[in-house]
Amino acid sequence: MSDGHPGDEMAVADFRPGEIVLEIPARTEYVSLVRVVVAAAAEIEPDMDSARIDDLRVAVSEATTNAIVAHDLHGVSDRIRIQCNLADDEIAVVVHDQGMGFEPDEVPILPEPDSPERLLHESGLGVHLMQMLADESEISATDDGTDVRLVVYSSKRRRRDSDG
């Protein structure tokens, strides 16, 4: 698939059962495609609640957008890799960028909603959304960039976990 922009070739490939890898050009036009693919992959799991798939869509969208911004900031033309791992009771998505790293500890803590300063935060909500919407979220530095790992549990696993 190409619309004439360098690096626009997109690849979807199965590597092993339950794993789907999508590579996209670092351009915002592709974020909606990532949402569609990840949601469709999650729907394969019959015990995945639709509301949780919605949460995953938002979380993955945020991670992908951040990755695109990181590539843009650092002039990186490589594609961004989104890896979905479908397990029996969860879906894990890893968004890998080569944007020279990210320090999660440097993300500003949002003021309380009732604080007047809360409205100063028009941006910076993306990491907060990922952390709140995924059952697990992890941001880690790699040799060449950042991995954001987001995991959403199936309803079966959530029931099991809540039962202890």
Partner: protein
């Protein structure tokens, strides 16, 4: 924000046709609220999709915005323009 420039500071933003919002969208809405509040105005939201409302709630923005089920309901509650 054309309405603000012509002096309307009590606004309704109709998001009933929106089925997805992310942090960028939230930032735009927060920015709009900030601008009208500086002018002693307010911004009310019409949100139909639970998934959209959830994104606001996850960021505790349901404590910042008034949500309404329709533009009419929002207008009845004080806003004069959409």
């Amino acid at each position: 924000m054309a309405e603000v420039r012509v002096g309307n500071h009590q606004l309704v933003l109709d998001l009933s046709g929106v089925d997805f919002i992310d942090s960028f969208g939230l930032g735009v809405v927060i920015g709009a609220l900030k601008r009208v509040r500086i002018l002693d105005g307010d911004l009310r939201l019409v949100v139909a999709e639970p998934r959209v409302r959830r994104v606001f709630e996850v960021c505790d923005l349901d404590r910042v915005f008034d949500f309404h089920v329709s533009v009419e309901a929002a207008v009845e509650n004080g806003a004069v323009r959409r």
